[in-house]
Amino acid sequence: MDPRLSIIDERLKEVKRIIAVSGCKGGIGKSVISCALALQLSKLGYKVGLLDLDFFSPSDHIILGAKLSFPEEEKGIVAPEVSGIKFMSIVYFIENKPAPFRGIDVSNAIIELLAITLWNKLDFLVIDMPPGIGDATLDTIRAIKRMGFLLISTQSKLSWESTKRMAKMLKEINVPIIGIIENMQKGSDSFIEKQAKLLGIRFLGSIEFDEKLESKLGNMKSFSQTKFSKQIGKIVPNIC
């Protein structure tokens, strides 16, 4: 018997809301949106945690420019604070080295992190999901009953077809979908808005492609002043 699953509820009991940022395909902006969302919520005075579950391409520490100090050991491990946000990521344990994990390893490592990380009081825990509907998605759904999914898609058919697969699965198994954000919008056409309506999922808004975003990654202050972050900020009240 794996005792770790029994403690996860306990670990998250003082966390008010848990938001998984997902959308199935890679490269659609899950990580930049997770970070911007965490920062914008924090700016509003909420206590925020950020958990990067993409073990193959962890990105949030780069976006936030986080210093990789080792998590403190207490009666568990304490998520280090990055400008007031409690931040946990596999990078603390692998640094810049590859983590060639099979699915069973991804599963075990996620359950381990959820079992030993002490988040304490949080208003929001934002989880940056890896692409796919594999072990990470299935395990967070299994382990965290109160989680809602924030789905992302670009306007590309390639992205939308994947997000749609995921949305179908979530609806079928009654996992709450908070809504869909269209990312990297170009032009005024809102393809995703129409598609979300067809699926009966709430459309939360479009984030434009921001030419300047890339150069602001790694500097939290500049990052949170981009047009991108401001547009995320406008969506935040619809999520709270």
Binding site: R4, S6, I7, E10, I94, N108, A109
Partner: protein, 136 residues
């Protein structure tokens, strides 16, 4: 000592099980500690003892067994014991494996073919082997 959080998991898991299976008031938890996770056994035992006091529902005893970690390479089939290769790890890498045993795939390689694609056959970490009713 993050051993505390794992001890909490063991007590929570055992209590959930005992309640679900309507066990009588006294139970023994047989815990297995897999070597790969390199648990600090005295710290873990101390945590269990403290945590047992904090709950009223059950009278709990525990028995702790350590289990050697065994690995098998998926690339070449070679099997080996963690204890035989452990000394090659730096202290820091050992500590990282202590927190998340899967990062063994980052810091360890098959001793025969150097592949990182190995399976942890046994001895990964903390497990509950069984829970028994005992006489009070």
């Amino acid at each position: 000592m993050h051993e505390w959080s794992l001890a909490q998991a063991v007590i929570n898991g055992a209590l959930d099980y005992a309640k679900k299976h309507k066990l009588k008031r006294a139970i023994k938890i047989n815990v297995v500690l897999g070597e790969l996770q390199q648990i600090d056994v005295p710290a873990f035992k101390l945590a269990l003892k403290e945590l047992i006091k904090e709950q009223q529902a059950y009278k709990i005893k525990f028995k702790i067994k350590e289990e050697k970690a065994k690995l098998r390479c998926r690339a070449c089939g070679f099997e080996w014991l963690f204890s035989k290769t452990k000394e090659k790890l730096s202290e820091q890498d050992s500590e990282l494996i202590h927190f998340v045993p899967e990062v063994a795939h980052t810091y360890m390689r098959c001793p025969k073919c150097k592949s990182p694609d190995f399976e942890i056959i046994k001895g990964r970490g903390v497990q509950i082997e069984s829970i028994e009713e005992i006489s009070e």
